[in-house]
Amino acid sequence: MIRPHLSQPVRWLTWGFIISGCTLYICTRLIQPVLQNHSHEMETGPSPAIIQSIAAGPFKGLASDFNILSVFTMYNHIKFAPLDEAQQQVAWQQLSSYLHRAQSLDPWFMDTYRLTIGLLAFSDGFASDAVQILEAGSKHISWDWKLPFYAGFIAYDRLNDQQKAFELMQESISRPNVSPLAIGLASRFLQKEKGPEASVLFLEYMLQTMPNKYHGPIKKRIKELKRKTILKERER
């Protein structure tokens, strides 16, 4: 048996280092979540897009995946952490930044767009960010009619930007394999009086493509639109 070349006090000292290190580590892991009610990511946010694309090098796809994971984390914080109004706003801004980064690193990653529609588009003050992300994506995914259509719908429904909505929907219906439903809806959106009903129909269609976990903001919007339609009918 090989005996360690350490004297007794030094051996005790090394064990002291190991045990105190382990204890300190366990303490920091246990105490940290109690002291912090928001994560480090929320304080710093994602690094700028150009830095991320440079640092990602050949791992662009994986870097984009990590940004999407950060979106999940951020959304959980927004939903479950006790954040005040200002902190909520910062968290939404950072969630939006993560989606922007994910889109610029891998413009063909559909999860980015699904989360943009599900989370960002119907959150107050972030609809224009959603339109930007979807519009940028639609330039890369030239064979898909849905992205410009969704972007157009959000521009119409949330931003009241008829011009932008018209351009994007026009772009959408000129793409291959466009659904007849989309062509019909596009024309109805642009007729002001039929807009809200068409919006509800379209939002219900959107719900079918989203997982239950991310239905909240869309369902909220459907309720608002239905209430508006009922009020309008009563006025008449």
Binding site: I50, S53, I54, A55, A56, G57, P58, F59, K60, G61, L62, S64, D65, I68, L69, F72, D106, W108, F109, M110, D111, R114, L115, P211
Partner: protein, 269 residues
């Protein structure tokens, strides 16, 4: 010729018996499991995320091989002058370096072969062949393509590392310069690409824009990040794109290997 073959055989055996190489092979088996676990955190494009992890993993394994197998082997040989044992007549310096290079390539090939088998097996077992590419399916050859591309991309890097090792004086220098080279090949292409974007170049004087373009032409685009993205989404890559990419790597590998031979033939051993 016989002596070169003998060096190739010896190098391959030496690599296969290295403990680092065994760890890398174990990493190739763990890679699909990591990819499966990671991809299950996502909502829709599970296949794409799985491919992302496999591509990144293959690349990391090949990079670790280049740094810790190739550089340590050459560092010991050239830095500590162990190559004196081989460099006795009839073995020339040319045969020695060629044999070492081909032996290192065979080692990398074996590693990528394992990566290919494990990746193909995991993709075939876990994905749906009739599904939507990126979401729950990928083309049948994704594992083969990702391992093949990673192998090919590392031929030129191995040649560049060979040049560094024939020129640097000790193992520490060799490792430092090789890491710097790898970082440059990762980081510089996106910087040059970002600087060449029309909205950025419009802000520069013409001379600076021309200088950036020249630097972009001189420095190799060895990064292959966009090819990785296309593979992960199951997009067809055009044959001309593949041919140009491979040609660039071949040209760079020839240049580096030729320079390495020149430097090694003049080196005072």
């Amino acid at each position: 010729m016989n002596s070169t073959l003998e060096i190739i055989r010896f190098t391959t055996l030496e690599i296969v018996r290295m403990r680092v190489f065994h760890v890398l092979i174990a990493g190739a088996f763990l890679l699909p499991i990591t990819a499966l676990v990671f991809s299950n955190l996502f909502l829709f494009e599970i296949a794409k995320v799985q491919a992302d992890v496999l591509i990144a993993g293959a690349r990391i394994l090949a990079t670790v091989y280049t740094l810790f197998v190739a550089v340590t082997l050459l560092g010991r040989d050239i830095g500590q002058k162990v190559c004196h044992l081989f460099l006795a007549p009839p073995l020339s310096r040319f045969s020695y370096l060629t044999g070492r290079f081909i032996g290192l390539l065979i080692g990398l090939f074996l590693l990528m072969l394992v990566v290919m088998i494990t990746s193909e097996a995991s993709l075939l077992l876990t994905l749906n062949p009739d599904g939507e590419y990126g979401r729950n399916a990928l083309p049948w050859h994704t594992g083969l393509s990702l391992a093949g591309f990673t192998f090919y991309q590392h031929i030129s890097l191995l040649a560049a590392v060979l040049l560094i090792c024939t020129w640097a004086t000790g193992l520490a220098e060799m490792l430092l310069f090789s890491v710097a080279l790898l970082l440059i090949t990762w980081i510089v292409p996106p910087i040059i690409l970002a600087l060449q974007a029309p909205d950025v170049t419009s802000q520069f004087p013409t001379a600076v824009a021309a200088l950036i373009e020249t630097v972009g032409m001189i420095l190799p685009q060895l990064n292959g990040g966009n090819i990785g993205l296309a593979l992960a989404h199951g997009f067809p890559i055009s044959y001309s794109d593949i041919a140009w990419h491979l040609l660039e790597h071949t040209a760079y590998a020839f240049m580096m290997f030729g320079l390495a031979l020149q430097v090694f033939s003049r080196r005072d051993l």
